[in-house]
């Protein structure tokens, strides 16, 4: 009989405890090493002690790899993370990397970070200086919008969120009106409130707008407009009328082929030169149009993908019932095509939101732009890390929320149960 036989049900009584011991030792070592900075295997040369936990863990995982052990938990573990030597190795490596990376992150974000104070001098610890975010928070949210008028932005967004919130709870019929209001009336109402100039509200020029609120404003308007334009372009590209088809193709290929940063620059610098003297279009509006058309070209191609995925029979069935072009597309084709490409649409819209920081090239400062400005302030030099981590977090929250919403929508609209 071999001394080392393959782990199996016969030797489970000895191999399983032995394996667990090996694994425990290796995990304990990594854990102690990571969190208490103490090398428990110090008596080995340093290089070896670095790989020893991996080796121990590996041996342990080998010993517990017992097929049909009869222990449910063990079988699940073996099947999912310990099915062969290579997978065992990857499992260990992943877990160790996660354990090792927790303490430095925790230190930087929380334990060694500074929260109390009002200036850079209060940041004495080694970790993040969150005071920077705290002091500049107002600017990060509202840009250079006057403090006294910020209630207008708050009100505008409060109304928006209230209506959106309510629309989840009201009946389908009422919901329709809510959505119509949100699409056709609210945008102009909100902009009126924020820009002012009438109803006794002080006018605030768009150059003062900024921060996260500007990110929202630009994203919302661009999404609102790029979507229908994209749908029309997609339909146009598949039109049987050559003029419409070629105009659509030309438009899409032109805008898709140019970097957004170039488009923005042109909209701000070159476009005014083509306008007749005396006409003036606000910079923010020009930028909005540029982003909208740019993203509409992408949207068009996403939607076209959906249109092409539909079987020809759907078009024929709609036509055989006497529907004309618009009825066929609006009632039959688009509802199905758009549903098919929800992941693609979400992709494009997420990209749109994350493209908004590029408007810095024309001097508009949304969230990331304001952070860029704040970190170059002489009193706050060296705060780039905190700033961009904060921006990253905020963008991630926005984008993840959008992503979850799109997944919900997909599930809700699915009729192939």
């Amino acid at each position: 009989m071999n001394i080392i036989s393959k782990p199996s049900k016969e030797n489970i009584k000895s191999y399983l405890p032995l394996g667990i011991v090996f694994i425990s030792v290796s995990f304990l070592d990594v854990f102690v090493n990571a969190f208490f900075n103490y090398n428990s295997l110090v008596f080995f040369p340093s290089q070896i002690s670095y790989f020893l936990p991996l080796l121990f863990g590996f041996i342990g995982l080998y010993l517990i790899r017992i097929e049909f052990s009869g222990i449910r938990f063990l079988d699940i573990v073996n099947k999912n993370i310990n099915s062969n030597n290579f997978n065992a190795f990857l499992t260990l490596l992943t877990i160790f990397i996660i354990i090792k990376s927790i303490p430095p992150l925790l230190n930087w974000f929380v334990l060694d970070a500074n929260f109390i104070g009002n200036s850079k001098d209060d940041c004495t610890g080694d970790g993040a200086c969150w005071i920077f975010i705290k002091v500049w928070f107002n600017r990060f949210m509202y840009g250079l919008y006057p403090d006294a008028e910020q209630w207008r932005i708050n009100t505008a967004f409060l109304i928006l969120f209230t209506i959106v919130g309510f629309s989840f709870f009201v009946s389908a019929k009422l919901k329709k009106y809510f959505i119509l209001f949100l699409i056709f009336i609210y945008p102009f109402l909100g902009i009126e409130l924020i820009s002012g100039g009438s109803f006794g509200l002080k006018y605030v020029e768009t150059a003062a707008w900024g921060g996260l609120s500007l990110t929202f404003i630009i994203s919302a308007f661009a999404i609102l407009f790029c979507f229908p334009i994209g749908v029309f372009l997609a339909l146009g590209r598949r039109s049987s009328l050559p003029a419409i088809r070629y105009i659509s193709i030309g438009f899409i290929e032109l805008w898709r082929g140019v970097p957004l940063i170039t488009v923005l620059f042109m909209s701000a610098v070159m476009f005014p030169m083509f306008l007749p003297d005396g006409t003036f279009i606000d910079k923010l509006i020009r930028v909005l149009i540029a982003i909208t058309l740019f993203e509409a070209a992408y949207m068009a191609e996403v939607v076209r993908g959906g249109l092409q995925a539909l079987p020809k029979g759907q078009y024929e069935a709609a036509r055989s019932l006497g529907m004309g072009y618009w009825k066929m597309n609006l009632l039959i084709i688009l509802p199905q095509a758009l549903k098919l490409v929800i992941p693609g649409i979400a992709n494009t819209l997420l990209a749109l939101v994350k493209d908004t920081p590029l408007i810095f090239v024309v001097g508009l400062m949304e969230l990331a732009g304001m952070i860029g400005l704040a970190k170059t302030n002489p009193k706050w030099l060296g705060m780039a890390m905190e700033g961009y981590v904060f921006a990253g977090l905020v963008f991630w929250i926005i984008c993840y929320a959008m992503s979850r919403y799109s997944q919900n929508l997909e599930k809700k609209l699915s009729t192939e149960r």
Partner: protein, 243 residues
């Protein structure tokens, strides 16, 4: 008796390949016509020309007094009067069976929603799937889907029904339930043109049989005559293989 469908010297090409050659066909109201023939003979193309899902390039097609031409208005008028049932059902998968049936009446014929729903339920009852009205097409069996498709076409209250191999995509067990609905429809006096290989059905309901091959109508005869005493050799050969 007046004719509800008239085709005169209809020719059609797919690129250089001629699919329909000099087709002449007249159908009187309430007549039932079954078209058979080998695959690729142009029988589907022929009935798809009648509601202009395919364009013909030469000749005239007149449906219920309306000539089919480039005029979009005429085409939509004809399509609203001619129901069509497809081999692949082509139900709208994003709508419930009831909505499938009410959509065109509401949007094309401008029927009030309530009336459209009553009409839909009447037709769904007629094809015996009224209990499935609120389900989605994906939840139904093939036979049920095809019956729903027939109900959908009937909801436009068409004068003519075209069937393009309605049972070819079905399991053998489900063919009967669809054919039963079609027989019932035929007995109700609907004008029908059916492309099918179901010869039992043809014998039961058809007034005329048409046999097509290579884009031409090879034989057109009363049903009894067609099966008992076919004239052309090609028809005999076809019947000997299929019966």
């Amino acid at each position: 008796m007046g004719k509800i469908i008239e085709l005169k010297k209809v020719n059609k090409w797919f690129d250089k390949f001629q699919v329909l050659k000099n087709i002449d066909l007249e159908v009187a109201p309430q007549e039932k016509i079954v078209i058979c023939g080998p695959s690729g003979s142009g029988k589907s193309t022929l009935i798809r020309c009648i509601n202009r899902l395919e364009e013909h390039q030469e000749g005239n097609i007149v449906v219920d007094g309306t000539e089919l031409s480039e005029s979009t208005k005429n085409i939509e008028k004809v399509r609203a009067e001619v129901g069509m049932v497809f081999q692949q059902f082509n139900l709208f998968p994003h709508l419930s069976i009831l909505d499938n049936c009410t959509l065109a009446p509401i949007w094309v014929k401008k029927l009030p929603k309530k009336e459209a729903e009553e009409l839909a339920m009447k037709n769904l009852t007629r094809v015996q799937i009224d209990d499935q009205a609120l389900k989605f097409p994906g939840q139904l069996s093939g036979g049920q889907q095809q019956r729903a498709a027939i109900a959908r076409a009937l909801c436009m209250e068409p004068k003519i029904m075209l069937f393009d191999e309605p049972t070819s995509a079905l399991d053998p067990e489900m063919i009967k339930e669809v054919l039963d609905v079609m027989v019932d429809l035929a007995k109700g006096g609907m004008t029908m043109i059916v492309v099918t290989h179901e010869m039992g059905f043809a014998k039961e309901v058809a007034d005329y049989m048409i046999f097509m091959d290579e884009g031409k109508i090879v034989e057109r005869a009363k049903t009894n005559e067609f099966f008992e005493n076919p004239k052309s050799e090609r028809t005999k050969l076809f019947l000997s293989q299929i019966l």
